[in-house]
Symmetry: C2
Subunit: 116 residues, 2 copies
DNA sequence: CTGGATCCTATCAGATACTG
DNA sequence: CAGTATCTGATAGGATCCAG
């Protein structure tokens, strides 16, 4: 598997490419919540624990630019913006589920307990 | 899904936990190469393009500490060290394969070509 | 041959303040 | 309500040098 370029960045393998699109701390949690419904910015913010305003905004921008979600702005006051998932975004859902199940299995293997 | 602690680090979900174990640029490439054979340090170094001495060493240490690989030292001069995969490491292989296939699919979807 | 330590840089991500 | 800008600390990763 040779190296390849995408957006002027050098990748060494397909795993790295995939993780650059949907990896990081927040992209999967966002896609997961949009998988079966449209949500407004504020809803996402309330629904995803710990995420900061800045991170939510920037991650939504990147997911939109790369075609995983769609942003729809209603020209009203106060502003209303809705986010929905695309075909490309939906294709990522089974992968997220797979990784999530593996994570649960690993947690059990490591004997990880929940914080009270 | 509540938060939980592992090694004094706070995790928000199982995906994050999994990616902290086998994510990053180098851990999957290393596990992948050990999946069906024992390899020496120098072999891994030669076989994984772009990896630096420091990163190979540190990633091997972490994978060993968390039980994904085993390190066997032969007390000879010059030193000989062999790395092999464990049951826990083998359990990660299908996940890596899944992500890899998804990455290939995404690359096609994005029309990514190879660097000559 | 294998490994450790040091220094340096780029990027990531949190906090905060400001805007229409 | 949603978004932008700036500052700053934390972390990942590369280059290089020394050691048994």
């Amino acid at each position: 598997m040779p190296d390849f370029l995408f957006n002027n960045k050098l990748y060494y393998n397909p795993v790295e490419f995939a993780m650059d699109r949907i990896g990081g701390t927040w992209k999967m949690p966002i896609l997961w919540r949009l998988k079966d419904r449209i949500m407004r910015y504020g809803e996402l913010k309330k629904d995803i624990p710990h995420i900061t305003h800045k991170m939510l905004t920037s991650q939504l921008r990147e997911l939109e630019e790369e075609g995983f979600i769609v942003r729809k702005v209603y020209p009203v006051v106060p502003p209303k913006v809705e986010y929905s998932i695309t075909e490309r975004g939906l294709a990522a859902i089974p992968i997220i589920e797979t990784i999530r199940n593996y994570g649960l299995q690993l947690m059990e293997d490591f004997g990880v307990g929940y914080k009270k």
